[in-house]
Symmetry: D2
């Protein structure tokens, strides 16, 4: 029987058209891995896309190596868990460059559901769901890696609230002062806020800190369990803290500028906030892509 070594190697042939390719790899790979966080072991089921570049002289990329690298990392993770999803991403791009000897560029993107215990207003604990992201790129020897989170919370519209307040004060002039004091009705909705921060060599970022920053920037975090009194407190708090998606992004930027002020100026930062508007069938969206330097300069 023919073994691998005697079988034709079509990938190594010269292609018919001599173009290099920017990214060649595998997408939608789903694996279960173990990540060791400071105080606990975390089980993640990331969806993974990974790529290397391909020179003009090679017909095909050796794709099975990509999955071998992932399996190796998965197996290792069970025995000697790594310290974070961004470290995992970094380890994988290094292996990609090592195993694909023809490649000068390697990239990995991962996202996975992530759970934290949270206390609702009355102290009752529940498991809350978030999404972790990581991305690492190795380009001609230089590695850049990113850590990100997606957090779901609630936003209350400041514009509708002030418009309603104004109409109420016009209708009930005797209560104008009182109407300034209490929160008045507005529309509110589920909001998804995404933060992606570069983790420069020698620095570290905790995903849980990014989650806290996002939750602080919304009108309120949300909770899986709310008894009547809790529900009242979340609703009340959210209405004393109305936020446009624009406000959420800017509040995240402000917190990041304090928390990571010692990071290099060229650290890349992306912040996005999207509200599933309750009064429309479409969403409202705001985004800032910048370097930390621009944010520190109040740009």
């Amino acid at each position: 029987m023919l073994g691998n070594e005697k079988l034709p190697d079509i990938q190594a042939e010269k292609p018919q058209s001599n173009y290099k390719l920017t990214r060649v790899g595998v997408t939608n790979v789903v694996k279960q891995i173990v990540v060791k966080r400071p105080n606990k072991t975390v089980f993640l089921t990331p969806t993974i896309n990974l790529f290397v570049d391909l020179p003009a002289t090679k017909k095909g990329s050796d794709m099975s190596r990509n999955i071998e690298i992932i399996e190796e990392i998965v197996e290792k993770s069970t025995m000697a868990p790594c310290s974070g999803i961004e470290e995992l991403a970094e380890n994988i791009v290094k292996l990609l460059i090592k195993k694909h000897t023809y490649a000068s560029y390697a990239e990995i993107e991962m996202h996975a559901d992530y759970f934290l215990e949270r206390e609702n207003p009355s102290g009752k604990r529940s498991q809350e769901r978030y999404v972790l992201f990581s991305r690492a790129i190795m380009d001609h020897g230089t590695i850049r890696k990113m850590l990100g989170v997606k957090v779901t919370g609630i936003t209350v519209c400041p514009c509708a609230m002030e418009t309603v307040r104004s109409v109420l004060k016009d209708k009930y002039p005797d209560y104008a002062k009182f109407l300034n004091e209490i929160p008045v009705v507005s529309h509110n909705q589920r909001n998804n806020t995404t933060i992606m921060v570069e983790v420069p060599e020698g620095y570290s970022i905790e995903a849980n800190d990014l989650i806290e920053i996002a939750e602080n920037a919304m009108s309120s975090p949300t909770y899986e369990i709310l008894k009547r009194k809790d529900e009242e407190e979340v609703v009340y708090r959210a209405h004393t803290n109305p936020k446009f998606v624009e406000d959420v992004v800017r509040d995240v930027l402000k917190q990041i500028s304090k928390k990571y002020s010692n990071f290099p100026k060229d650290t890349l930062i992306t912040v996005r906030s999207e509200s599933e508007e309750s009064i429309h069938k479409h969403n409202a969206f705001a985004e800032r892509i910048s370097t930390l330097g621009e944010i520190l300069n109040n740009e």
Copy 2:
């Protein structure tokens, strides 16, 4: 060259295991069709699943016939548009039974985006998006067909509103009477309500009526364009009309019992309402599946 008639007919062979199959067919077929409604021509892009049963004696269903039937209907629809998506569904199950001579059961499910012009509170018009459903089943000669709609609107939670009102009245006892008069803050969110009604032989249902019933049952319809004054009116109206998902389903049932009271008692009715809760990461859901008879009896 061999023609179709001389090629082997594998589908007609006897299968290795003698089990009949309940449904065999094609799924995720997407086509563009024309439907002539009373006052206008509607362009739909339905996603279609269709099936027939298969006797234990036949290895395979003749699947290409399913698509031929759809193409025939698509082509006809351009020249002589049919009067509704449920008539289309009925025509297709009849053709399925005719062309699959071995079948005693045929089924089709379709859903498609659907647009109506709506006036917002200040009279400004916008195109609003809905989903149309239809389903038809022909079983041993008997046809049952269903028409359905999915409508997106807003629901305001009555429970959180009364809890907040109660806390406000406790905190501001001097304003208790005023606090009874004005709407107070609550959580509100995007709600999707689905109505599916059987269309008995000799009766007809307008999809636009079902959409109106669903919009009437929510705290308020929503609109793509809302200037400040409109936004205030939608928010205010929704807060004077708070609704659980349970309330939405029951209000739809009540309207259906009036609108279609002359329909046969065994007419099947399904109503679902799902709110994308702004204070939770999960949804709230309510459903009633019943006959019109049960609804008319106030069960």
Copy 3:
């Protein structure tokens, strides 16, 4: 400050319209849980929908209890893992009926990614991805529970293969005998096969057995890692075992009739197979819904 006990209980009020509701609950709840299987501990991240019925006299269902039940089960699972996802479902419907004192019906549906180590043809191990399902219904005291799996593999079309063989034999009559001996080209594609089996009281089913049954019924299982020789073996094996979706469903039924022949005759069985046809933009689909009794009778 007002406590929960003094806050208004809107859910307990009489509704405006007196209709009972079939199912009221929460959908799209995602949690991480621990399940203890015979030889290992499994971490699952199920998406959960759960419901109870609601009498005509009660305005709202007490939805926060649903999540409290899930959190309780999640917490318990960490300490004393349960033995299977269908046992989990059964425990939850019992708690639903207990905590929703007005309910006579409770239902839960769950699905979660699930991973098994598999050996490819040359013995290399990789983590393969499946989906687990479970469903439990408690109706007036009677519980029925179901366990299911979704398995991805490959199917090769028997019809196209024989048509091509016939054309090749016509073109190369001297090689007719040889062309009968070797597999000839056909279209093949990703296939998803779903098996859902009722687990009667006092009986048990292993999810891994259902996965094996589905993989045996396809043209071949698929693997994340395939070096050249492995790839050749999977392709070759699949082409010596061509299967319509109809064949896959019937082969699953046959295996089930042997494996679970001692189960009660009224055990419910659903088998579905869907091929993402490589030569079409739509899918091919086959399904059988029946009792074990019908299958044992070769119906």
Copy 4:
């Protein structure tokens, strides 16, 4: 009653944190529009995302203007259809900059199902489904616009085919010559290929040409209706034309370099091909992002 002019304008206020925002707007807007193509009228239902930037001095973007612009375009399109989806995109970014007087950047992305009649090998016609994309950016007065398509077809793996051929020749040495002549079995699968080309000012591109280029680059186009002889021809043709995703991307690049050789050198080109591997649970992916100049230089 208060009119819009007397209501508070919260968006115009100064924000608490002085950061400019890169993109603010609306996402997931779905509308039905009419586009006049050379020989026919096309009905599209695009999903639309659109954005402008926001200076540090302004709290909120005037989001309702975004939808007003879309509604205006939708209404106009019914009366005086525009000539292409990329012209539509260009018109919209111009209006965005005009109506958002504070903005120096505007962007729109759209995608929509698109249908063409195609003849299968025996000349039978069917409606085939594609996806159209367009994107336009106006940045400090300069507009760049892109037109794109996503096309679904079939790819046959060249590597598995040669490995199988090699094993067959080893097993049947007497037939080695014949085995070189006929196509041998491999894995094949659904492939999605995306082409996005910049349309420079003064130049034009037909979406149908891009679709043809993508279909020519795959192992074969696919068809909704295939009788037995057609199916045999598509399978046979695909197996005489095996393609890696890498080959598909390079073949698209080659055709583009011929078809648009007179376009400016800095015209942006993105080509992606993704195969839903039938022998794996993950996908294979290849991509090239470049300028036309690089492609013309055979880089």
